[in-house]
Symmetry: C2
Subunit: 370 residues, 2 copies
């Protein structure tokens, strides 16, 4: 059985990072096909790391996709952001050492962004660095964590505080896995897809406006293109700024407002993508008030965010000061300026630290709540 016979949709995107370049394979029927995984296994030892939610759904398929001569170990971690700790990564290291895995072993990260971040970090530091393969199973991780090489864990005093930049050998995105994804999480992933259009690709944004129904009903061709284009746009930005010194900040469109919403509501109450959806609309409205966007642009932005099933309004109980404090702005120091990602046009974002403080506070006071 060759690859072309088993997969109805198959696209490949190359992420160019010199000697750390790797392919992203996007398609249907990828899991369970040994021809897909085999080229990326460094040695004969593989550990599949997944979580309690994903294991019953896809672990068998990934195991079936292993060539016959490979020693396969499995590790199932708890699900959720609360498990994204150094202790969980230590469990991976314990399991690798207990199994006698050497420097030519390969880790497979099967799950969403939390699993990908932890397994990537475990690979970065096991014997000073071994290979790993990402198999992201949520739309968010497919379009976000697949590209960029950021790995790590949370610390009680901060998210993603401990980690490393470490690139996978390959990313396998089987869009069939989205069939089991809750619709709310699909929408949250679409927030990041829309973000790529807003910050860098007006044509892609127009395509998303037309194809949003196809995406929300999981049409494979539409999903594959949305994922490929998102990954390509992120890869362009990351290639320009691998270790996050400059342009990579554009990826934070909607995130400053979004993080404030997530933190104020308590993480997990709003999904990250939901907060980013509302946050992007806040950035669009602020961009209009700065004279960059037209009212028409703001309505287009609102329409596409809403069509993805995302909120357009901030939480009812969140006041101006709640926002300011979460954005680490001192109420008394009105000279203090915030570095924000804003939109010059739909399709071009900029880093801007000259927003007058009264304009920002006016936005926070008048932006719709629900």
């Amino acid at each position: 059985m060759t690859l072309s016979e088993t997969t109805a949709v198959q696209r490949t995107l190359q992420v160019a990072l010199d000697e750390r370049s790797y392919p992203i394979h996007i398609g249907t029927g990828l899991l369970g096909d040994p021809a897909v995984l085999a080229p990326y296994l460094a040695g004969r030892q593989v550990m599949i790391v997944t979580n309690e939610t994903v294991a019953p759904l896809y672990l068998d398929a990934v195991r079936r996709g292993m060539p016959a001569d490979i020693e396969v170990q499995e590790l199932i971690l708890p699900d959720g952001e609360a498990a994204k700790t150094l202790e969980s990564v230590s469990r991976i290291w314990d399991a690798l050492l207990a199994a006698g895995f050497n420097r030519r072993c390969t880790l497979v990260a099967l799950g969403g962004g939390v699993i990908g971040d932890m397994v990537g970090f475990a690979a970065a530091c096991y014997q000073r660095g071994v290979s790993f393969i990402q198999v992201p199973t949520t739309l968010l991780s497919q379009v976000d964590s697949s590209v960029g090489g950021k790995t790590g864990v949370n610390h009680p005093l901060g998210k993603n505080m401990i980690g490393a930049f470490w690139q996978p050998r390959a990313v396998l995105i089987d869009i069939d896995t989205l069939r089991t994804l809750p619709s709310r999480e699909l929408s949250a992933g679409l927030a990041e897809v829309i973000k790529y259009g807003l910050i860098r690709d007006a044509e892609f944004l127009a395509w998303l406006e037309a194809e949003m129904p196809a995406l929300r009903t999981l049409q494979p061709e539409a999903l594959a293109w949305a994922i490929e284009r998102s990954c390509a746009l992120k890869a362009e930005i990351v290639a320009e700024d691998e270790t996050e010194q400059g342009v990579r900040a554009l990826l934070n469109l909607g995130h400053t407002f979004g993080h404030a919403i997530e933190a104020h509501q308590g993480y997990g109450s709003w999904l990250h993508g939901e907060a980013v959806g509302a946050g992007m609309q806040m950035a669009a409205e602020l961009s209009r008030r700065l004279g960059w966007l037209e009212q028409y642009d703001v309505e287009r932005s609102a329409a596409i965010i809403a069509s993805a099933g995302l909120p357009l309004e901030a939480p009812m109980d969140m006041g101006v000061e709640d926002f300011l404090s979460r954005m680490r702005l001192d109420k008394k120091n009105v000279d203090e300026r915030l570095r924000l990602i804003l939109l010059e046009t739909l399709g071009r974002a900029v880093i801007h630290d000259q927003t007058p403080r009264e304009l920002l506070e006016e936005l926070l006071a008048t932006f719709p709540r629900s």
Copy 2:
């Protein structure tokens, strides 16, 4: 006060690793001089990490060497290889976060190899990588850990199993710190110095034969040159093979036998350098039996190892099978060959995996014990 007025001896060696290149400053009176440290501080936040043995001796001096506008935090960890754990590195991360240190902070590793390895690893993974400066205070760490970028910690199932390759911004070797080093540890450091001569530099080896008394009585000029030449030789090898795929294995001369001795006696009973001393002599003797070295060469090797105050004989209670099992050789599988670092001449080492098993066992049976 300028640098030249405060330091009687001052040498600088550049380690060339493209954008990760850094200088090694070697001299007297370096600690306590702000002009030395200042150029390598990335931001305004510095954490000095040291251990309980070194802190009372040199922490004040390093603190005095900080420019006045720097926020300095300190962390004192337990001394010894047993403290080289992920838990200790976690304490560094906890302290950095508690102090609100950002991505432009700098860690200073003040101590021997254990401190250097842990602080380097903490720097590699704090917010996905921050700057660090090595201030090695033992001869072994000055000539070994200063170059190579290996960082990490031990795991109950293996030494140095968790870690990263991460280069310092600079290495400051103040040879005054050797005045407080126990003489046995000075000898252990000299084992690695001799090793560099044996594997790669016959002229340096001849110089060591003449200057060993000056080194053991801590003559600054002699120490500075021995350290500089050792670091330069290691840097040449590391530059050829940064992530340890090939020629870097030559640095393991004497280490296969040495590790067997250390493990059999219990770590800490023989110092690493002592075991390497005896191990190098075993490698020299095996090289003679393979027809490469003359009897005269073996006697020269023995003389210089002995003159450094190192043992020339294996432990009395260690039999052939003790060696074989510690070297992971199966007694029954006589076809199995060991990859050893051996000497073609004094000053040129090779990687050799064709030593006949009976020749190896004969060496192990007949090598002197005490």
